[in-house]
């Protein structure tokens, strides 16, 4: 899967999906994330990212624990 999708840029679908569904600022609470039509790999990736963020949030709001495994995986 390495066809170039956008002229002048090396943008492959794999890299695109990875960035758009795994990157970007996440706003919790007031938003809807569209999950339809994503295959299982990406759903589980996002579930992972979401849960990691939850862990990070909780640990920073309560007592600041040293380093959660999630926090180090994310950075």
């Amino acid at each position: 899967v390495s066809e170039t999708l956008v002229r002048g840029r090396e943008v492959t679908l794999v890299d695109l999906v990875d960035r758009l569904l795994g990157g970007g600022v996440v706003i919790s609470g007031d938003i809807t994330l569209a999950v339809a039509d994503i295959d299982l790999v990406h759903v589980s990736l996002r579930a992972l990212v979401a849960s990691v963020e939850k862990v990070a949030e909780e640990s920073s709001t309560s007592t600041r624990s040293a380093s959660t495994p999630g926090a180090s995986r994310r950075s």
């Binding site: 999708l5 956008v6 840029r9 090396e10 943008v11 492959t12 679908l13 794999v14 890299d15 695109l16 999906v17 990875d18 960035r19 758009l20 569904l21 795994g22 990157g23 970007g24 600022v25 996440v26 706003i27 007031d30 938003i31 809807t32 994330l33 569209a34 999950v35 339809a36 039509d37 994503i38 990406h42 990736l45 994310r74 950075s75």
Partner: protein
Amino acid sequence: VKRGLSEPPAPEPATLLDHDRVVYSLMQRCAVVPMRFGTVVDDEGTIRSLLLKRRSELKGLLAHVRGRVEFGVRSDEVAAPASGREYMSAKLEAKRSLAPLAELAVDTRVRRKDTAYLVDGDLVGAFEERARSMKLALSGPWPPYSFTGALDG
């Protein structure tokens, strides 16, 4: 820093590409901190309060990515490592071999399948040249999708 999508988009190749195209074209004019794909906010008031609430964080991110673009280098999977030690040393070796590239970047993020580099606009040419000389395939330039998390240090 804002985008005008109002419906929840399905994550299909076409909509993903549209999203990327919009963010990328915005990036040509100003610094952009992308939101996660599929983010839908009810109304403008909510956007305002969200932006206000995270003002200092977002300002920090904007300052970090201003005038810079992201490139990606795919990482080779460590094929069936015999041990955790082997896995870690392969990872370390991979990181070491990419050091000349990291030198030209202001920030790096090791992602799941690739390493992302945040590169100054002035150094894009040099960065691409070095990647070529190292026989590495780059993806990008991207808006700074991978540099929207907490800033390191």
